[in-house]
């Protein structure tokens, strides 16, 4: 019989998980921003939202991460590597689009070079997602062949039951099963049916758009200039995106000691592709926006057979000039025969 996690048992769960060495993390609103943050008790969670402002990405791929410490001495340079952090974590209340975003990046970080900073965290983190019963105008998971209750990337999927008194538990992975085994006694058996997932209308025909993108003639299309003319070149879309993974390595410090850090970087920035010579292969904002779209829906799928977008819609939701993937793909749809 299906199991239910009752909302009033959440504090017990947190306590149980913490006592077995886990950090419990979930959507929290602090300083006027909601993001995945550690909690001590359930009341800190902010679950009744469409999705947090910041994506789950930073839990696995922080904005800035020290990877090496160096000190230049007279005869030698001392270096100390920062090991990937360890510590068990349970992310409670992740959105399915965030969970799938993480899964989308797994092959990337494990491809020709295995990024231990990513995988150490991935292996030690259990993602407990809650299926969406709310959506807004920007949600577009359904257009990406995903859904408000998709299980991709989740270890557990919870489906809200009526009145918000609890969630129906769906175990997806062994890691999820283990995590919930420790709270098995806190779950109840129930036949209650879950609230149906939010209706997210399909915004564009992805397959048709991808065909258009793949056509080499369209690479130099006027379309790119027209669609991106108002883009101001900030990185808010890429930094809020759960799948954008670009980073830069930066040495920071004084003249003879410092830290080498792995920092988020963005293809939106003019400097991203700037060569030492001064030449910039992506010299215009339209070329940069084209790159972002091509990477997500043409190059990345070509390599990993995955769309590099989970449909969270943060790019357009937060864009200072109301741009985003949805608009672009919708406009591409209009160009199709």
């Amino acid at each position: 019989m299906p199991k239910i996690l009752s909302a009033d048992k959440l504090d017990n769960c947190i306590e149980r998980w913490k006592s077995s060495g886990n950090t419990v993390i979930g959507p929290v609103r602090k300083s006027n921003i909601s993001a995945y943050r550690p909690v001590e008790k359930a009341s800190e969670f902010e679950l009744d939202i469409v999705l947090p402002d910041l994506s789950i990405k930073e839990l696995f791929f922080p904005q800035t991460e020290p990877i090496l410490k160096y000190a230049i001495r007279k005869q030698a340079i001392d270096t100390t590597e920062f090991l990937p952090p360890s510590g068990k974590r349970i992310v409670f209340g992740a959105r399915p689009c965030d969970a799938s975003g993480v899964a989308i990046d797994d092959p990337l970080f494990g491809w020709d070079y295995r990024d231990e900073y990513w995988f150490q965290r991935r292996n030690e983190t259990v993602i407990v997602s809650i299926a969406c019963v709310k959506a807004d105008d920007f949600c577009m998971c359904t257009s990406l062949n995903l859904a408000p209750d998709s299980t991709m990337g989740s270890d557990i999927l919870l489906r809200p039951i009526n009145g918000g008194k609890g969630w129906l538990v769906e175990e997806i992975t062994d890691r999820g099963r283990d995590a919930f085994a420790s709270i098995a006694d806190l779950l109840q058996e129930s036949t209650e049916s879950p609230v149906p997932p939010a209706a997210v209308p399909e915004k564009f025909n992805l397959e048709a758009c991808v065909e258009w993108l793949k056509n080499p003639e369209n690479f130099e299309s006027r379309f790119w200039k027209e669609i991106s003319v108002r883009c101001i070149g900030c990185a808010s879309c890429t930094y809020l995106c759960p799948t954008c993974h670009c980073f830069d390595i930066q040495d920071e410090g004084d003249t003879y000691s410092g830290i080498r850090r792995k920092n988020w970087d963005s293809c939106s920035f003019a400097l991203f592709t700037m060569h030492t010579s001064g030449h910039n292969p992506r010299s215009t904002q339209s070329a940069r926006w084209r790159q972002r779209i091509m990477h997500k829906f043409n190059y990345f799928p070509g390599k990993f057979s995955l769309n590099k977008c989970s449909g969270c819609g943060r790019c357009s939701r937060q864009c200072p000039v109301d741009m985003g993937i949805t608009e672009t793909l919708q406009e591409i749809s209009k160009l199709l025969p």
Binding site: K30, S31, N32, I33, D53, L54, Q63, T64, D137, F138, V229, R230, I232, G233, C234, A235, S236, T238, Y239, L240, Q250, E252, R261, N263, W264, S266, F269, L271, S316, Q318, P320, V321, D322, M323, G324, T326, E327
Partner: protein
């Protein structure tokens, strides 16, 4: 006739007779409450233009997009009063030729908007002077007052909380009409004055220096504050700088096209209460 229709007609006329090559305005956005910038280059498209009280963004930054004005043709732009002040500063700082800018001016009036008379920035001179005499937003912001009552330590904690959120997406810079530098100071790495990493120290440095660079230049259009995806109240820090420029140097940013930058000019009797 509504201002929207009035300005659409004018845009149509200007585009048809070739007086302007482009109109930078607003159109509808993803949701009913959203307005997004739009670039209209032919008379047939003018119906896309929308103008109402939801049109808030300062569009003047688009005018300094590299090579937009280099053909010496004119561009029309929808501007609120802050935007007109931005034009003054951009002209004073040699970033554009004001004669190439046709202004479609408007200002909020209660829940609606009203048109401002004039087309060239010069024609708004008196209007801008009147703004400086009666600043529409009072200098005393309640949040600033609250902050100023705090101890330095409390203020530091306040900003530590705020700046720790910064993700260094530079949306504030990109949205700001005054941030027109070809190379931003934060992008200089020889030496790296500002730590680019988005740790709180680097974020402190970035936000402090940006505010310093905007001192006496910020017209408080709010573009940065609205652009910030992590809701850092950037308006507070810029407002504080505007108040400082005003109180210490009687400087109202964007007063005229000949105004000297507050930090490139001086008076021999500038006050100096704090210098030992």
């Amino acid at each position: 006739m509504s201002i929207e229709v009035q300005y659409r007609n004018r845009a149509k006329e200007l585009l048809s007779n070739g007086e302007v090559k482009l109109v930078v305005g607003y159109t509808g956005g993803t949701t009913p409450e959203r307005r997004r910038p739009v670039f209209i280059s032919s008379a047939e498209q003018v119906d896309r233009l929308v103008l109402d009280d939801l049109c808030i963004a300062n569009l003047s930054g688009y005018l300094v997009t590299e090579s937009l004005l280099s053909d010496e043709k004119s561009v029309a732009v929808f501007l609120r009063p802050e935007g007109i002040r931005s034009i003054n500063i951009l002209a004073a700082e040699n970033q554009l030729n004001p004669d190439q800018i046709v202004i479609f001016g408007f200002e909020p009036a209660g829940n609606t908007i009203k048109a401002l008379d004039g087309t060239n920035a010069l024609e708004f001179s008196e209007f801008v002077v009147s703004l400086s005499e009666n600043p529409s937003v009072s200098d005393s912001d309640p949040v600033i007052e609250k902050l100023e009552k705090m101890s330095a330590q409390e203020r530091f904690s306040f900003w530590q909380d705020e700046f720790s959120k910064c993700i260094k997406c530079y949306a504030c810079r990109q949205a700001c009409p005054m941030c027109y530098c070809r190379r931003c100071i934060v992008d200089c790495n020889q030496p790296q004055w500002i730590n680019t990493s988005p740790h709180t120290l680097g974020n402190f440095e970035w936000n402090i220096i940006r505010a310093f660079h905007l001192a006496g230049r910020c017209v408080e259009c709010g573009n940065c504050d609205r652009a910030c995806p992590v809701n850092i109240p950037l308006r507070l820090i810029n407002r504080r700088m505007a108040v400082e420029a005003r109180e210490s140097f009687d400087h109202f940013a964007g007063l005229s096209m000949t105004q000297e930058p507050v930090l490139a000019s001086f008076k021999k009797d500038d006050s100096e209460t704090f210098i030992l």
